[in-house]
């Protein structure tokens, strides 16, 4: 399970959210459980 730059993960227990700034191998864990990937809404650049 690889972790890619820019992906977001959330913890379903404590609600914290992270943005990946270094690629690596997962899984990412928080509160003793795997974090959930958060689907991004793709938007065109407006500036």
């Amino acid at each position: 399970m690889s972790i890619a730059i820019g992906k977001r993960y959330t913890c379903s227990s404590c609600g914290c959210e992270i943005i990946v700034t270094k690629a690596g191998t997962g899984p990412l864990t928080c509160c003793a459980a795997d974090m959930q990937i958060k689907e991004a809404t793709p938007l065109p650049s407006s500036d």
Partner: protein, 498 residues
């Protein structure tokens, strides 16, 4: 999150990439973060409380923005197109500032005791000095990050305060970190004192997209810049797009690298965007609607919606070219009537906005946001049945004739389609019978003459008689703010004199 976190993230994740280019000068994300930390240490040691910037776009501008963020003080970009007197007044309002100034504007400082350095000298020193570690790390995202003087089309300019949390919420909610391909580059001609100029620094640093600055806009320089730098996206104000389309004439643009063009800052005339869609057949145009007080974009009409509208025979779908699209994630928009109650879908009212990127705060005045977090934008708008937002203008500009609310934009678009009309302003003047009457001020195309009765008939045929201007005046030019907003109040004043 703070703006300095955005710089740290970019430096840590794709630090070797070129971040900003202006003419022969470039800076990478790594160099940008290192120089900003060095400059921030110096700013703190000298006990400055504000960093002000009176200059054109250059590599020094993002460096100033991130230096101020690391140092824990706001950046205040000033509008170099203002008169010396206006600039002097603004400079005297700043708290313990260091002013970065381009050589062509130093004459403004005569007689004032404002500590200052030449923009380029300051930037070179920050880049070549031995790197210094910051003495503190500030993690308070409620600190002011940016103070912008609003353009003031309706009165004296106010100082809009944008805190770190407002500016970073905007990028975090709308952009995926590092999502730009290493070859992407965006061409920015919007000046540093405009919210879109600041937005471009933050968004593109977060995305990892190189920014190419074009400080002195001309249509030819813009087209050359797109071709020579392999530019993939650009942001323009409507007057710039009008000049680009005009310069192309009947020729296609021939800008193969260009894929996205965002526009905003003022209303886009329909004939201009239609011509642009034809000249740039492979470009996705994005209409971005926002205000200084909302940290830039709050709604946008994407490229696919533009193309669908352009290709449609259904007048309702076609009309979406005049829409600003749908609200951004995290942004709530409500249209309210005069009593403050939400209106039904399709009805026009006052546009209110709420969300983490909305500031609505002015220095020395306080917050204009109500208890539930809503900010009254001063714009008049409506949603159609499919959720598309139409901004009809500033509430002060709406003409009320015989009880009918008339948006001047509709009449202006019709007049602009006439071959002898280069530019036009439609305003409401006091009238004893109707309350207000419609008056148009027209700028003729070079060498063309305009016949008042012919233009009135042109509007009547396209719209209806209640929307036909009672009078049409001719003027050599119209008054605009430096960022392309029509100054209707001045048009009205000049009409009252003549």
């Amino acid at each position: 999150m703070r703006l300095s976190d955005v710089a740290d993230m970019a430096a840590g994740s794709f630090g070797e990439r070129v971040a900003f280019t202006c003419g022969p000068e470039s800076i990478s994300y790594e160099q940008l973060a290192a120089a900003a930390r060095t400059a921030a240490t110096e700013l703190r040691e000298q006990r400055y409380q504000t960093l002000a910037y009176l200059g054109q776009s250059s590599v020094a501008f993002p460096l100033a923005m991130f230096s101020a963020a690391y140092a824990g003080m706001p950046l205040i970009p000033l509008n170099y197109r203002l008169s010396d007197e206006q600039l002097r007044q603004q400079l005297q309002l700043l708290e313990a500032p260091l002013l970065l100034v381009d050589p062509e504007y130093t004459h403004v400082l005569e007689g004032l005791q404002v500590p200052h350095q030449l923009t380029h000298d300051w930037s070179s020193a920050a880049r070549t000095s031995p790197p210094r570690a910051l003495d503190v790390t500030i993690d308070d995202d409620a600190q002011p990050a940016l103070i912008l003087f609003t353009s003031g089309t309706g009165g004296a300019p106010k100082q809009a305060v944008l805190r770190h949390s407002h500016l970073t919420s905007y990028v975090v909610q709308s952009i995926e970190f590092g999502n730009a391909h290493p070859d992407e580059a965006t061409l920015t001609s919007v000046p540093p004192y405009h919210i879109a100029g600041a937005g471009a620094v933050i968004s593109n640093t977060f995305a990892g997209r190189r920014v190419v600055y074009l400080p002195n806009f001309s249509a030819e320089a813009w087209l050359d810049g797109v071709r020579s730098e392999g530019v993939t996206s650009a942001m323009v104000v409507p007057t710039m797009l009008a000049r680009i389309v005009e310069a192309l004439g009947d020729r296609p643009a021939e800008t193969p690298s260009l894929r996205h063009v965002a526009y905003g800052g003022a209303r886009m005339p329909r004939p201009v965007i239609e011509a642009a869609l034809e000249r740039f057949p492979d470009v996705a145009f994005v209409n971005a609607y926002g205000l200084t007080e909302t940290s830039s974009t709050i709604a946008l009409l994407d490229g696919a919606a533009h193309r669908k509208a352009m290709a449609s025979d259904d007048p309702e779908v076609r009309n979406r070219l005049a829409s600003v699209g749908r609200p951004l994630p995290g942004v709530e928009i409500q249209i309210r009537d005069g009593s403050g109650a939400p209106v039904a879908t399709g009805e026009t009212g006052k546009l209110h906005v709420r969300g983490p990127q909305v500031s609505g705060e002015y220095r020395g005045i306080g917050s204009a946001v109500d208890e539930q977090g809503w900010f009254a934008t001063g714009d008049v708008a409506r949603f159609d049945g499919d959720g598309f937002l139409f901004v009809e203008g500033r509430s002060d500009d709406i003409i009320i004739r015989g009880g009918e609310n008339i948006s001047p934009d509709v009449i202006e678009d019709v007049l602009l389609r006439h071959t002898s009309v280069r530019d036009v302003a439609v305003v409401g003047v006091p009238d004893p019978e109707w309350g207000q009457e419609i008056v148009a001020v027209v700028v003729p195309e070079d060498g063309a003459s305009v016949e008042e009765e012919e233009l009135r008939e042109w509007v009547r045929a396209a719209l209806r008689s209640s929307l036909t201007p009672k009078e049409i005046h001719v003027a050599p030019e119209l008054p605009y703010t430096p960022t392309g907003k029509l100054k209707r109040a001045q048009v009205l004043e000049e009409l009252a004199i003549t």
